[in-house]
Every structure is written in structure tokens, then in C-alpha cells.
Symmetry: C2
Subunit: 396 residues, 2 copies
């Protein structure tokens, strides 16, 4: 019969999808305006105007054969140059276009990077809380996930635990900053401490340990928070990126892998990325969107809308008595369940007030709920009395 | 270090790319009009008018958030319905939309299907000549390829050899009709004989053996050739499809996997396909193109242009004395090298007359050259004297 592993993966219910279907049923029963659905991380602001304008102009002015042809596997040179320019600005030094391999989005970037690096028996460290699909990609690549817990409400990793994981023999660690589900940004201080641990172990083993920096939310930061350029802190860093959030194009599947020249034997790592893309059936990123990217890589959506939602929700919830992770980035608020209450119980209780939140156990930590605030400001305002009732339930 | 397998795959030179780069150099040296480049299978006719019109209308009329959102993993229901309608027309009975899983193109369809089916130690049969990436996908899924040679110039498989392969214990066989690189179409008679062999062995083993029908060229057929609907001949058939050729959109990465209800435990097979897609990092097919598909699935490019090229080239080459596979479909002509000459030697000799052809050994057979006639009619006309000189070289 079919592969048991793939069958199990295909049949396993996603918690987020379950909540979203529950939401559909409630919307039918009591009306959409009475359901406060914070379950899905789909951008709620449109793509920048110039994206649509550029797509229309390309369709009007470029001949069909050119516009829709296969591109080289790593992408059109001018699209790779646009991505490299973005990275160069962050780095403060020149990143060559040859470092960029365009992909069909962040999930592809991660699946390909892991496949490129992993040898049989390898371990990959994940920092909890982490995006659930990381585990799927790690296992598909033939590796084993080692989970490092957070130190505290800051959601920086517990460094003693991280050291233990690194010394247990890992090939790479995936960092995701700003973080889904917590909104936390890893500080330069945290990254430097992690780099020291990784460097010491690399030297001891005599081989590279990689950081895979998954950064789809890096432009969505608030109050001047800074997302460090990780390769400057730890050279053996491969960056995975997606335009899903920064251009509000999640369905179009466009992202990249960057293997900067500072990576040890970067040419070999880049070649392995190309090989992994081939083996997973990726031919090229969608060509129309590559042409768009060449012109629009620096565009940003209306981040102010997210910033407003965040201030409103974080202010109201902390005032009501909830403990929350300080959401420096992304569009998630990670709310601590009251003492003695599990994340799942907390989210069940929230449902009584038509608040749809995601329990944190699927993200590898206990005792939190994720609130995706990429919704309308109006939804947030109207949800506040419900959060208040939830607080009262626990006598906060 | 990185995965040795992926590194080797990333570093291995593609024969087709080598020829194409040689072509670039020659074009610089002697002018593009003097190089007859038949190396690449990129559609040479534009996408149907309605495709561009629909894309422009969608960008004008549908709000950005809806148009560019994540879709469900198997695709938008109305796009799946459009694909199912196409299949129903071919089948002559109703194929439900729930049988369709949209993908990022044919390579993704194959990589996902194989990943869904393969268990450790499985064998997959390939019918030579075959598209070289099949081997990559088979090996990535953890299976071993078993190659079945063609019977003769008809490029139908040698049935005795096929029977041997099936009896050696295979999980599935990939059939590709119309075929890249030969243009041959598998006849209903061939498919029925193959089905008999597969059925007998399935019964003996007590489990399904699958046909994976890779059909990106099925609408590109000539002189009334018919491409049978394979599931009607052999029920345990999974169809892999791509719109790269039928809508001339190779760079946009849009295709599907169909698991028809006649497949044994089709629900489980479909679930395994969903699991395999997840594990390989596929989230959904590009959303703008899914909306387009809902309206344009039945459109076709100007196949008459390919038909004209085919008639011209096949006529001229056979008249000159070359033996060719009868090209019932696709846009390739498979030319036999003269007796005692290898495919590689033949293609080297052709280069002297600025004819760029692909030797057949990369397709798993010896002694042929692939001529991709998806070029302008003018290129074909102007190339004929060069083919004549090539024939004279071998005193044909």
C-alpha cells in the first residue's frame, strides 16, 4: 500500500484547521460579526499598489512566451539581484546575486535547505515555540528534531538547554525571528551567546554547524525593534525568506534561500541547495512573480495597520490582567494561560465568548494561546469585552 | 558537511544545459540566425489570448487579499472543478473535484506522487526512453528505478521485459504518453497488454501496483492520434498533469495529481498525496493562476504551429534517409543515428552543421537524438540543408 508516514501526515488533523472549521460553523449559527476569529495567520492588508500595477503592466507589455517561460532554477538574474540588494542593505556590505536561490515560498525554502544539509542520523535543533511544520520538514529530510525550551516570557531560548542540544551533536538549528507564534524577536545578545556555543562546538567537531534563519516576518517589527542580520553574528547562516508577509502574497509562493559568501564552502552549500530543489521537484519560482519581484522587492504593505492592532490588543489585554509575550514583531500575540490552566483549556474557555485562539502545545510549549491579530481593527475593538469576560472567568 | 547526494545532484551538469550554453557561444560567434538550436522543450507558441485577458481582469476586479491568499492545500474548489471537468470529458464519466490535488507543475506532481506511494525498498519501473528527472524523483523518494527498454522504433515497451520488471516486484510504473523525448503515444493495445501483466501480478501479491501516468503533452497530438484515458484501462492509475504545455505556461508552475475513485482505497491514496505535498514543502499552487484556471482550463494554444513544424521536419528527414520514430504527439522528433554510430557521436557530428540536438543516452536508450521542434517554422526551413549535409556525411 501507500507510504504509512505520508498517509498519517495527510490524515492528521491540523489544530488550526479544526478551530477554523469550528469558526465557520459558529459564523453560520450566530453571524460572522459575533465570532472573533484569531486563528489564522493570513495577511489582512492588501499587497502594495505597485505590485498589482507591475503585474498588469508586465501582462500588457511583455510577450507571453518570455513572461511565462521556465527560468533558470535559481531564478531570473534580475529578480535574484533585487533580493540580493535587499540583503545587502540589511548586511551593510555587498551580497552577490549568486547567493540567492528563489523558491516557491518559505515552506519550500526550509524543506530544500534541510534536504541540502541533512545526512542520515543528523539532528536539527528547534527553538520552542516553533512553527509546527518545522518538525515535518526535519523528519522528511531524514533528521531528528531536538527541542530547546524558552528561558522565560521573553521567549529567548534557554541557553543552558541550547548548549546541551548543541553538544548532543546537531547539524543545524532553525531560528525564526520575529517568531510565529510568539511575536518575539531574538536579540543580538541572544544570537551572540548562541553563536559562541555553536562556534565552540564547531571547532571541537571540526565541522560546520549551521543556523537556518527563517525570516518571513523580519520587516513586520514595531516600536523600532531591530532584527539582526544573523550571518554577521554567525557566518555559517543560511537565510530562508518569503514574500508572503512583506508583499502580502502568501498564495503566490515566492521566497528565497540565501547562502551568503561567509558560509564555509558556500559554493558547495549552494550546489547542495540546487540539488535538493531538483530532488524535491522544484523547477523554478513562478515566472510572472519573479518579473514582478525584480521591480517591487523593496515595497512594503501597510504595516501601520498591524502596529495599530498590536498596540490596541496588547494594551487592553495586559490592562485586563493577562500576561503576554512582548510582541516586537510578526502579527501574533502570545498570551499566557492563568496559573494551573493548560493552553488547551484556556482556548476552550475562550470559545465560550466566541474568541477563537490557538493553544500553544502544537508549537512545542505548554500554557499559552496564540492570538493572530492580522484582522480588522474593528474586530479587535469588538472582541475586547469578550477578552474581559474571559479574564473575569479566571478572576484576573 | 552537506548531503553528498544533494551536492552531487546540484553539481551534475545537465547535458541539455551544456548544449544550450554551447548554443549561446555559437550564436555570439556566428549570429543567432545561423545556429539551429533544437535542444530545449520550451513551448514556442504563446499562451491562449484568454489566459492573459483573464489574468488582467482578475487583477483589476478581485481584491488583493482574496486573490493572493493561501488556498486550501489541494487547491481552490472552483479550480479543482475545472480540472475535474476536463478529466470527466476524457473519461466519459464523472470525475469528482475531490479527486484533484493542484500542484506547482508536473515535476511537483511526480515528486509528490512517488513520495506518497513509496515504502522503503520499493522499485519503480520506467519505460525507456524516459525524462531524465524521473530517476531523480524515484531515488529521492527512496526507491530504485527498474528500466524497461522499448520493443522497436514504435517506442512501445518490450512487453516481455516489462513482465520481468513487474514480476521482480514493483510498486508502480511511470508511463509518459505522448512521450518526451520520442513523441510516441502508447496505444490502447499496449496499455491493455501492460494492464493484464500488472493485474496478474497484483492478484498474485494481493496488493495494488500503480500506474503513474505523466501526461503534460496529452493535448499535443497530431493526425487524429488518440491518447487513451488510462484509468479506464487500468483502474489503479494516478494521473500527473501540468498546464506548462497545454496553456503554454511552463514557468508558472501549475499542474495537478488526479486520484480517480476507481483507484483501490482512493481516499487513502489521496490522503497520502496530501501528506507527501506537506512533507515536501508544498503549500498550494500559485493562487492567481488557480483563479485563472477556473476559467481557462479548456483553452488550448495554437497547436497547428507544432503540427506544421512536425510535418515539415518529419517529412524532410525521412525523405533525406533518416529513420525517425513516428511523432504522434508532444513536440519532439526522435531520430535514429546511422548504424554503428552512438547518439552522442551523431549529435557531435550534427554540431559541425550548427544543428544542436540532444543525445539519447540521458533518456535511457542508445543510438538516437532528440530534436525539439518547438521553434519557429523559419528555423526549421532554414535548418533543412544542414540536416541534408549531416545525412551526406553518413552517405544516407
Amino acid at each position: 500500500m501507500v507510504s504509512e508516514k505520508m498517509l498519517a501526515l495527510g490524515e492528521s488533523r491540523s489544530v488550526i484547521r479544526d478551530i477554523s472549521e469550528f469558526g465557520d460553523a459558529r459564523r453560520q449559527e450566530i453571524g460572522a460579526e459575533n465570532v472573533f476569529d484569531f486563528s489564522i495567520g493570513n495577511p489582512s492588508v492588501p499587497a502594495p499598489e505597485r505590485v498589482g500595477e507591475t503585474l498588469r503592466r508586465l501582462l500588457d507589455s511583455v510577450d507571453s512566451i518570455t513572461l511565462h517561460s521556465y527560468t533558470p532554477a535559481p531564478g531570473l538574474m534580475k529578480a535574484r539581484m533585487a533580493a540580493a540588494r535587499q540583503e545587502s542593505l540589511r548586511a551593510g556590505f555587498d551580497i552577490p546575486a549568486g547567493s540567492i536561490y528563489l523558491t516557491c515560498g518559505a515552506a519550500a525554502s526550509l524543506a530544500i535547505s534541510l534536504r541540502a544539509l541533512v545526512c542520515p542520523g543528523d539532528k536539527i535543533a528547534l527553538l520552542a515555540p516553533y512553527f509546527p511544520e518545522y518538525k515535518v520538514f526535519v523528519e522528511n529530510a531524514g533528521a531528528e528534531a531536538v527541542v530547546v525550551p524558552p528561558a522565560d516570557l521573553s521567549m529567548q531560548p534557554d541557553l543552558a538547554e541550547f548548549k546541551k542540544a548543541v553538544e548532543s551533536g546537531i547539524k543545524a538549528v532553525i531560528v525564526n525571528s520575529p517568531n510565529n507564534p510568539s511575536g518575539a524577536v531574538l536579540s543580538a545578545e541572544t544570537l551572540e551567546a548562541m553563536a559562541d556555543i555553536l562556534r565552540a562546538e564547531s571547532v571541537k567537531k571540526g565541522e560546520s554547524i549551521y543556523v537556518i534563519a527563517d525570516e518571513p516576518y523580519r520587516e513586520l517589527v514595531y516600536d523600532g525593534a531591530e532584527v539582526p542580520f544573523v550571518p554577521s553574528i554567525y557566518p555559517d547562516t543560511i537565510v530562508c525568506y518569503s514574500y508572503s508577509k512583506s508583499l502580502s502574497l502568501p498564495g503566490e509562493r515566492l521566497g528565497y534561500i540565501m547562502v551568503p559568501p561567509c558560509v564555509n564552502e558556500s559554493g558547495k552549500v549552494f550546489a547542495a541547495v540546487c540539488g535538493a530543489g531538483r530532488s524535491l521537484g522544484y523547477l523554478c519560482a513562478p515566472s510572472l512573480f519573479q518579473y514582478m519581484l525584480a521591480e517591487c522587492a523593496d515595497e512594503r504593505p501597510d504595516i501601520a495597520a498591524y502596529a495599530k492592532n498590536r498596540a490596541l490588543l496588547y494594551g487592553a489585554l495586559t490592562e485586563t490582567g493577562f500576561e503576554c509575550v512582548k510582541p516586537d514583531g510578526a502579527f501574533y500575540l502570545f498570551v499566557k494561560a492563568p496559573a494551573g490552566v493548560s493552553g488547551a483549556e484556556f482556548c476552550e474557555a475562550a470559545k465560550r465568548f466566541e474568541l477563537l485562539l490557538v493553544p500553544s502545545d502544537s508549537f512545542g510549549v505548554e500554557g499559552y494561546a496564540r492570538v493572530a491579530y492580522c484582522v480588522s481593527e474593528d474586530t479587535i475593538r469588538r472582541s475586547l469585552p469578550a477578552f474581559k469576560k474571559l479574564a473575569e472567568l479566571y478572576s484576573l
